[in-house]
């Protein structure tokens, strides 16, 4: 018998005494604030919660994105900025050192930073989620460079974790990001900036 058959036989013998299917009580707060539903309070909550985890958050109108991004990158001293396929060209127009894909790992390592869009943002936890869709680049793209600037449209902000789970596609590679990389491994005191981008800027664009 193969290991597979053996394990399955053991599992069936071990669970033979369990009858029926237990009902899962889902009395917790259900998904209720999906994409496109964010009001001013929810946008404010996302801004506050993302800032709590040391992301720097800016808000601007649609027409100001290019300038705000360029200013933010300049403020970080980032010259060579990676811009992924599908990132709105009007948003990257003011970046002087924009570098386009495809980029190998070594080329990514030579960048000062990257700009991306996001798939979804979660207000309650201050989280952005990337799914490698248009404007987001590969998983490595938003990982290797030390500086990540993410542009979030207000229509992409959802209320809580259940809303994000409902909005995302489980077949796509997903990266959930809450603040810059961090560790609490030394005496459980939090240090920002380990292996992932040490600086995370978020620009919220009013739809």
């Amino acid at each position: 018998m193969s290991a597979r058959e053996e394990m399955l036989a053991r599992i069936r013998a071990a669970t033979a005494d369990i009858g029926g299917r237990p009902e899962v009580p889902r009395r917790y707060r259900p998904a209720s604030r999906g994409p496109g539903s964010a009001d001013e309070a929810l946008v404010g909550l996302f801004e506050e919660r993302a800032s709590d985890y040391r992301a720097t958050v800016r808000r601007c109108a649609a027409g100001e994105v290019a300038r705000v991004i360029a200013d933010a990158a300049a403020g970080r001293g980032a010259q060579r900025i990676g811009v992924p396929d599908g990132f709105p060209t009007e948003w990257s127009a003011s970046l002087p050192g924009a570098v386009g894909p495809p980029l190998e790992i070594a080329a990514l390592d030579a960048l000062d930073g990257v700009v991306t869009t996001v798939a979804v943002a979660i207000a309650e936890t201050g989280t952005i989620v990337l799914d490698t869709g248009p404007g987001q680049g590969s998983r490595a793209f938003s990982l290797v460079p030390d500086y990540h600037l993410a542009v979030v449209r207000t229509g992409q902000i959802v209320g809580a974790v259940p809303d994000a789970v409902a909005a995302l596609d489980p077949a796509r590679p997903l990266t959930w990001i809450s603040g810059p990389s961090a560790t609490s491994d030394i005496e459980l005191s939090r240090v920002e900036g380990v292996h992932g981008p040490r600086t995370l800027d978020i620009v919220i664009v009013t739809d």
Binding site: R4, M7, R10, D17, P170, A171, G179, A182, E187
Partner: protein, 491 residues
């Protein structure tokens, strides 16, 4: 009670067994005042943070109930969910391997790495690979495994063992970590201070080239969704993202109980886990992938290693609900004082005391179910409501049953209990025994307490004092009080 046909985790491989009896290992740990200071500082910090992170969620009790029920569903239909997961991962271009125990899993992973022609791998922190001793097995095969989680790196460079599920180097303070880095990390700056930020920066510099050049990574998994084939790794530092994303080959070793039935179930567990473990609203990074993505080769190794034996005990199987958050360690008065090494297993603390003896069989970890005061703090803290105290009591009876089954004639403990039952089953015998107990006053006359009992009873007083028996037994006092009362009534 034994579960025939259910092999436990094999001996001689991995890290699930006590090397010394818990009382001996605990006494050693208690003598280390630096260790106790480090642990007290760390556990009290995380306890306060966790309480705040949980209090912020208005529906925590409902999430916890849902989490427990989802995991019970997984356990009840584990065969079906594993087959569904296998089908989904395969459909998305991954390869699924089944490992009955630690040796089989180590062979599978070693073989997969050899096929790539590589002789080094980077690793994401993973309890399952610690449990099976994968690093040692790879080293024996000439493959170098580099731990990339900061705490695991501290443990690996310190030639040490992990002592906590979430923060394996919790027993080390910043000074000790700096010393380890200066000694073991050739590229550490010579003027390295003990500031956590500087220490983290040194680890970043040390590992960065390895990440960028790595061809093979080995990871664990926090969740695997049967319905969609999606795997999830929850982390903080970005070392997980580096390992899961950059190498061409990814090998994930996962305990079979890590499954969740549906994609939607993540809405429960992505709230329960971060707040219970690192006490954050959300951990910095969570990576999810279904099968082989972005041109990678993906292999999933499904590990039993005593889990089906655990599943076979109706009163012990709920230990498999565990999502490895480590909240029970941080609230445990025993763990806070002894630290994780005293438990001998990679799973320390309250969950370890119920999980390790079930994975190995109680005969191989007979002290662990007794390494608890049964105070119940672990049950309160558990995000999937594992009734650890009740399970400890159940496992204590399994340990005793096992001893009786393997002992010729009655054990001393069983003989004593039988004698006690005989004495307590008759009121006259019991009253006589209590009066006879007053002889113990002789032992306690010097200190007002009994510090050492004679003969085999000495084991009881090796770690505690006994109160000196009173001059009068309660029953005698009650009888005399009744007599006095009647006199008063008459007068």
């Amino acid at each position: 009670m034994t579960f025939l046909g259910m092999p436990t985790a094999p001996r001689g491989v991995g890290q699930l067994r006590q090397e010394a009896p818990f009382p001996v290992a605990a006494a050693r740990a208690l003598d280390d005042s630096q260790l106790r200071r480090n642990l007290r500082h760390a556990t009290s910090t995380i306890r306060a943070k966790r309480a705040a992170a949980v209090a912020e969620v208005p529906d925590w009790a409902e999430l916890r109930a849902a989490g427990a029920a989802i995991k019970d569903d997984v356990l009840a239909h584990l065969d079906r969910y594993l087959l569904q997961l296998e089908q989904q991962v395969t459909a998305h271009g991954g390869t699924v391997h089944w490992a009955g125990d630690a040796n089989e899993a180590n062979q599978i992973v070693t073989g997969l790495i050899r096929t790539t022609g590589q002789s080094s791998v980077v690793k994401v922190k993973s309890m399952a690979t610690q449990e099976i001793g994968l690093n040692e097995a790879l080293a024996a095969a000439g493959i170098e495994a580099t731990e990339t989680d900061l705490a695991e790196l501290i443990v690996q460079l310190g030639h040490d063992r992990p002592s906590h599920i979430l923060v394996p180097a919790i027993h080390r303070n910043r000074n000790q970590i700096r010393d380890i880095f200066l000694r073991e990390m050739p590229d550490a700056p010579p003027n390295l201070s003990d500031e956590p930020a500087e220490l983290a920066a040194a680890a970043r510099a040390h590992l960065r080239r390895k990440f960028l050049a790595a061809q093979v990574a080995v990871s664990g998994a926090n969740f695997a969704i049967a319905e969609t084939g999606t795997l999830a790794v929850v982390e903080s530092e970005g070392n997980g993202r580096m390992c899961l994303t950059l190498p061409r080959t990814l090998i994930t070793v996962m305990g079979i109980e890590k499954i969740l039935p549906a994609w939607r179930d993540l809405e429960v567990f992505l709230q329960l886990l971060p707040r219970s473990s690192t006490a954050e609203r959300m951990n910095p990074y969570t990576s999810m992938w279904a099968g082989a993505v972005e041109g990678q080769d993906f292999h999933l190794v499904l590990l039993d290693n005593g889990r089906t034996a655990t599943l076979a005990d109706p009163r012990g199987r709920a230990a498999l609900r565990c999502i490895r958050c480590s909240a029970c360690l941080n609230v445990c008065p025993v763990y806070e004082r002894t630290g994780g090494h005293a438990y001998g297993s990679v799973y320390p603390g309250p969950i370890g005391a119920v999980l390790s003896p079930q994975l190995t069989g109680v005969a191989d970890n007979p002290d662990l179910p007794f390494a608890s005061t049964l105070c119940g703090a672990c049950y309160d803290a558990c995000p999937v409501a594992i009734d650890i105290p009740a399970m400890l009591v159940h496992l204590r009876s399994r340990v005793v049953d096992d001893k009786v089954a393997h002992h010729r004639g009655p054990t001393p403990e069983a003989a004593a209990m039988r004698g006690l039952a005989w004495t307590m089953s008759d009121p006259r015998r019991w009253a006589w025994a209590l009066r006879a107990g007053r002889a113990g006053r002789l032992l306690g006359r010097r200190y007002g307490r009994i510090r050492h009992l004679p003969g085999p009873l000495a084991a009881w007083t090796s770690s505690r004092d006994l109160p000196r028996p009173p001059r009068q037994t309660f029953r005698d006092w009650w009888a005399s009080r009744d007599a006095d009362g009647e006199r008063e009534n008459r007068s």
